[in-house]
């Protein structure tokens, strides 16, 4: 019994040390964000600032067009997530419930292209978008991301698990494909859809390389891109840089703590990296 208690204590100790390592960067970010410039450069480090300088947030916010960045990030995240949801539901339904020529070949080709790293698509997509005249516009940030093979695959698997008999019953009752999909399949597939939406929203909010490449003017930048240019402007004012970082990270942390069950289970089931 004593040995069991000892090893349990050891487990807690390791897990707590690990947790501290995971949380410390976040805590340090927040503590730094409310320090005065003098306290930031103090050694040994100050853990609790003498007075909380909330005005750092105001200052960081006004030093760069963060309001505009935030609006852009929200527009891009919301529209690309909603768009992907619609295209995914329709395509997954076709692949799981409809019979058509070339279905299996088409599906295999789509799955095969998932092997290709996204970086390969970067340059031709840039050329396509500039030919369309969409560079530095919302279209460039949203439209290429309106469909995802991975999401279609995920939802198709889920749809296949829903008993076929339901659709026969619905057909006998005179329900057509389209109504059946939206009134019966979609509500049943809620867990899979929530996973798809959350992973997409997180990925879209945090995405960096693509928005960096297709935006030129300050007005079109999303939050992560805006933050990198702000970091050059902020220079050694780490309290401002940390305030800006907190503003970007906080919405995701709040969303995460409200919906973590879905996010964690979704990742465990889907097994993908955002």
């Amino acid at each position: 019994m004593q040995r069991a208690a000892f090893s349990k204590g050891f487990i807690y100790l390791v897990l707590i040390i690990g947790s501290v390592c995971m949380l410390l960067p976040f805590a340090w970010m927040f503590i730094t964000s409310i320090k005065s410039p003098g306290e930031v450069m103090m050694m040994p480090p100050v853990w609790i600032p003498e007075d909380f300088k909330w005005e750092n947030y105001k200052e960081a916010w006004s030093m760069a067009p963060f309001a505009r960045y935030t609006i852009n990030s929200i527009i891009v995240t919301v529209l690309s997530t909603l768009g992907e949801l619609v295209t995914t539901i329709l395509a997954a339904y076709a692949f799981s419930r409809m019979h058509f020529y070339g279905r299996d070949i088409l599906f295999s080709i789509l799955l095969g292209t998932m092997m290709v790293p996204g970086e390969v698509l970067l340059i031709p997509n840039y050329v396509t978008l500039s030919n369309l005249g969409w560079i530095d516009q919302y279209q460039a940030l949203i439209i290429p991301w309106l469909a995802s093979i991975f999401s279609i695959f995920l939802l198709r698997q889920f749809f296949l698990g829903i008993p076929q008999e339901l659709s026969y019953a619905a057909k006998i009752d005179g329900c057509n494909n389209f109504r059946f999909l939206w009134t019966i399949m979609v509500p049943l597939a809620k867990p899979a859809l929530i996973t798809i939406v959350l992973l997409k929203a997180i990925g879209s909010w945090n995405s960096f390389l693509w928005p960096l490449i297709v935006t030129q003017s300050k007005e079109m930048r999303t939050l992560p891109v805006g933050l990198t240019s702000f970091s050059t402007e902020a220079g050694i004012n780490y309290e401002l840089l940390m305030a800006a970082s907190t503003m970007i990270i906080l919405p995701m942390i709040i969303l995460y703590f409200c919906l973590q069950r879905y996010i964690i289970e979704g990742v465990a089931k889907a097994g993908i990296k955002g």
């Binding site: 050694m43 480090p45 076709a94 790293p117 050329v127 396509t128 439209i143 990270i249 097994g271 990296k273």
Partner: protein, 296 residues
Amino acid sequence: MIQKPTFTSTWKALLYLLPALVILLTFNIYPIIKSFIMSFYTDYDFFKDIVYEYGLDNFTYIFQDAEFWKSVVNTLVFVIGVVPLSIVISLGIAILLNTKIRFKGIFRSIYFLPFVTSVIAISMVWRWLYHTDYGLINYSLGLFGIEKIAWLTDPQWAMPAIIIMCIWKGLGYNIIIFLAGLQNIDQQLYLAAQIDGAKPWKRFMNITLPMLSPTMFFISIVSVINSFKVFDEVFALFDGKPGPAYSAQTIVYYIFEKFYNEWEFGIASAAAIILFVIIFLITLIQLRLGRSRIIY
């Protein structure tokens, strides 16, 4: 009741597929082919979209470019630095989390937290943690009598700095996948082993590891692929530069530099194709190795 495809059903299905297919064909499938073709553009006017010359020059250029080889080496160092360590640590934590302890959910959420946060924002935080004079990391090391390390300005320490941060960031994802794998192991196996008097270490080596091999396999493939594509972390940690004296330039950074800063579309496309080939070959090797080791 087996349904056969007909022309009517194909038309109907096409309507459902149309929105997704338009996007995927334009932005996923066409660019794969286009990228391959572009890698042979040796004389290309982007503004007029005219190709004057095709050839293999881009590939010869890349293979003779010392900077490219440096980025390959850096990327390999990164992969070798991140993947094994990350797997060992996350497996250890997942096993501890899988025991009968309290606050399991809270621990799990904490470890997973970095996964949902912006790489860029969190890299800013690490940039501050790594600060030579005022960084928390050097301060903590100082408590143990270790001298200050110039994490972000000494070319020798740039890669370790990136590796440590990426392990920290990716831990939670691996833990979640490992936990799912551990929960799938039949508890009766452990009971049987216990009755036979197998010690914990033996149980780990002879039950946990073999039963976990499919999960391990999956995680190692995904981690290797993702590590090969590292970019955001480098960009943000070194303020838009590939580390001091190019010490943290990775393959994707090389592509980005050629494409975005130097406007060498052909060379950048060729480098992207090379990256794809490297990832493809390594995944194939892993699949081969995995097939002989996995016990289902």
